[in-house]
Each structure stands twice: as structure tokens, then as C-alpha cells.
Symmetry: D2
Subunit: 146 residues, 4 copies
Amino acid sequence: MRLSHRPSLDPAEYAYEHRVRTRFAETDAMGVIHHANYLLYLEEARVAWLAEVGRNYAEVRDGGIDFAVIESFVQYRRPLHFDDVVAVHLRVGHTTRSTVQIGYLLAVDGEARATAVTVHAAVRPDGRPVKLPTWLSDPAFAGPAT
Amino acid sequence: MRLSHRPSLDPAEYAYEHRVRTRFAETDAMGVIHHANYLLYLEEARVAWLAEVGRNYAEVRDGGIDFAVIESFVQYRRPLHFDDVVAVHLRVGHTTRSTVQIGYLLAVDGEARATAVTVHAAVRPDGRPVKLPTWLSDPAFAGPAT
Amino acid sequence: MRLSHRPSLDPAEYAYEHRVRTRFAETDAMGVIHHANYLLYLEEARVAWLAEVGRNYAEVRDGGIDFAVIESFVQYRRPLHFDDVVAVHLRVGHTTRSTVQIGYLLAVDGEARATAVTVHAAVRPDGRPVKLPTWLSDPAFAGPAT
Amino acid sequence: MRLSHRPSLDPAEYAYEHRVRTRFAETDAMGVIHHANYLLYLEEARVAWLAEVGRNYAEVRDGGIDFAVIESFVQYRRPLHFDDVVAVHLRVGHTTRSTVQIGYLLAVDGEARATAVTVHAAVRPDGRPVKLPTWLSDPAFAGPAT
């Protein structure tokens, strides 16, 4: 288990915010968003963040690097409901030579609903680990300017 | 619109039956299986049927032919619920040089819940149409022996 | 089969446009958006349209009317890919006392990728059909002003 | 973070095994099963296990207890592919008054592909915590007979 990042409940601790509106198809018979769908919101936020910082995900992949998800962790604090607009706050956490942890806070109207961490390995198309691109270590990604 | 097959409500009119148990994740806040998930059951039934008739889907694809879905139609007659065991009845309908229609009846405990048709085009990996494999025209696939 | 609406390839024939960006999770091993996910885009567009015309979906449901999907049809014309921004054009088609057909055109950069129709029945929470709300017959929903 | 269970790589350490065949719809454009779908396999295994031990999930819910997922963790060790038959091994881990940890090993042909832990809280329909049913503490669920 590489997971070590402890995601903060304070939006000010994050470097980027992406908003996603939940879909009706993502609800379940308990009337809330099914827990598996949170991982989709995290991924959508990562893609939007990469585009924002000029690292289009498709281009990154074309450049010969995939970011394989090697661990995922979600803590579900309060349910999400249909049509909620979820602010997905994101920041880079701990990095190693070829892995990066990303922390997330999911909030609705300023209320924390979930926190999460994903761990990614930079890999070649054949699956072998490769050195993390240096731009990922930009301190700006690890939280707000101070 | 190529869709012309009218799927029968009589299980005896079908060539193959595949059973799938609905998942909790496939329900929605109305307490029933979300309508988009029916397409997953149809696909799972097609894959099982291809394996049954000795045409493993992965091998078919490795042989250079994809079956692109070009049309889908579902008629939702009565809801499916969590943990239902759905009998997906399947048969080949009308074929042309490069397309095939597949008809479906979805039933639970003998009660029709939905009917459906998917239309597929045989295509090369580059997307160009190719002649339908001859084995798909086996009359045995178009319904029960009479 | 109630489906009768023939969706136009001309965006000008539609009353509303909603944009959705495809997710990586929605791709499949053929490298394109899996065909079942198109139904999610249609639903998201319906919800956005209802909100736009002041008929919040949650409120409509709280008012005692559900719109059950009773038929769906999708014609897949050209594939969608990851990160495509899809313009989902929508209009009301044929209505009966308790059903409404909605037509869709999905386009990327002005190029048609799919057309679709969903048929909905207005039902009470117990599933019984109920008269379609009159506001759904607003001619403005059936296409552009002429 | 309640998560503390460390799932074993040894199938013999698990109390129950459920088999699930991956779907084509669950693949992504990297040609492997998308990471979010693993949570669906875990849930399907839990439901099958509950049925096996005579605790039908629908009945449990009708009895006034939901098992809300409050944390999920997945470690992706080697990819799953389309049409893989995944053995989902499951066991009860640590329990508290109102929470239970469940550990999982996902293997294909005896090769570990992923490990996972979900943490569940027993809650009333209104979301308030309730005492875990005593049957969940059956030592038989926490691993093989010794």
C-alpha cells in the first residue's frame, strides 16, 4: 500500500477545483449517488486539471506515458444526490520517482461530502514504470500559493 | 434506420438464452434498473452466445473483424429490479451483406420485461465495412429448430 | 413500438442544445465511447433542458409525475472519442395523451455522430399512466421559431 | 480513515469466493478493465456472499438495516482484461459496534490482480448508525476453518 496522503477538509489546501453535476443514471435504489461513481468524478477532475495546466491527457498518452491508477481510496462522508453540483478539489500529494499521489475533496455548497486519494504510476505503453515527468513536481500543484 | 426486426414475446422463437443477475449498482433512484444498463445485458448475452457457438469474441476480433453496433433499440415493458435473474433470449434476425440484426427478449420468471434489437456492421479495424462471416447466416441462429 | 420520430441531421431543427464532454471511463477497448453511454448523454441533456425551461426534474418528480423511459433508439453514425465535446441537440417530437417522443442529434464540431429518439410515458409513482403535463406541448419545444 | 484491514494475497485466507466475468463495456481505451468497475465486482461478491449465508440483501434492507459504504480501497496489481473470469475472494475483517471491514482478493487463474477493502456502517434508513447484526461476527466469515 503506497497510499499515505491524508486529504484535507479545507478547500484552501487544494490547487485546483473542477465542478461536475451528478447524473440521474449515477444514483442507486438508496436514492443517492452510487459509491463507484465517485471514481468517475475524480478522473474527470484529473483530466480537466491536466488540460488546465497545459498537459492535455491525450497528448500525454501520445507522448508515450500513461498514468496507470495503482491505488484508489475514497472516504464517503455524506451522500451525494442527483443533480448536485460537486466541487472536486484536487492537489498533488507525495511523489516518488515514478508514482504520484493525488488528493481530493468533494464538496457541495461548501459542505464536505467525500475525500479521496488516487495513486498513479507513470508507465510506458507496455506497462513498465518510467520516470515521472518533471512538470508534475511543480510546487504549484501541491496546494495554493502561500 | 436499418432496424426492421420485430422481436417476439415468445421465448420459443429464440435460438439462445443467457442469464444475468442485475447488480445493485445498476439500479437508480426510482428503485429500478436504469434503462441504459439494458444495453449491457444485451452485450453480455451476445458475448456468451458467440462463445457458445464457438466464436469467441476476442478471437473474432483478432481475426480482423469487429462488429460495430450501428443501431440499438430497447422497448421497456415492465421494470427490472435489483437481484432479478434476467433470461436474455437472443436470435439472429435480418442480415445483409455486411450487417446483422439481433433480436432479444428479456424475461424474469417467464414474464417479458423488455424486447430489443441491435444492428451490427462487420468492419475492419480501420472501420471499413467487410462481408459478414458466413457462419452468422447459420439458420440455427435465427430461431429454434422446427 | 411507439417510436416514429425521425430525428433530423440539421441542428437548426432542434429547440435546445446541451454540451457534454465524454469521459475516459466511457471509452472501451475499441478506443471509442461505448455505445451504452450515449443514453447517459441523452438523459443529461433532458435534465439540462428541463432545468432551462423552468421544469426542474426533481420538482417534476416531487409533483407526482415520473417520465418513465419506455423506448430508446440510437443510430451510431460515427464514433465518439475520449474528450470529445458533444453537442446534444434536443427537441420534442410526437406526443400522445400520456407519451412524448424526444429526438436528438449528437454532433462534434458540427459533424453528426449519432441520432436518437427516446419515448417517455408520464406515470404516477405507482407506475400508472397519467396525462402529459400541458407545458410539454409548448410548440417552442418542437423546434426553432419560424 | 477507518481502513486498517490488510488483505492477504493467499486465497486460503478467505471465507468465500464469487466468480464474475468481466464485460466488454467495462474495458477502456487502454484495453483493460477501467479501475472504477472493480468496485462493482466487490459489490456483486458481497451480495452473492450474503445470499450464500442466508442473508438476502433485499431482506436485510427490508429489515431496516442498510450497509452504507463509508470507505473503499483498491490496490490494482495487474490489469484485468475483457472476458476474464475473476475469482473475488472475500472475508470479514475488523468489526466495531456499527462498522465492518471486508477484505478482497481478485485473482484470475490463481494470479492476484487486485486486493481491496470496503468499510461499511450499519445504518437505519434515516442514515443513523445502528448496532451491527450479531451474525456478521460469525468467525466463519473471517477466514477458513482452522
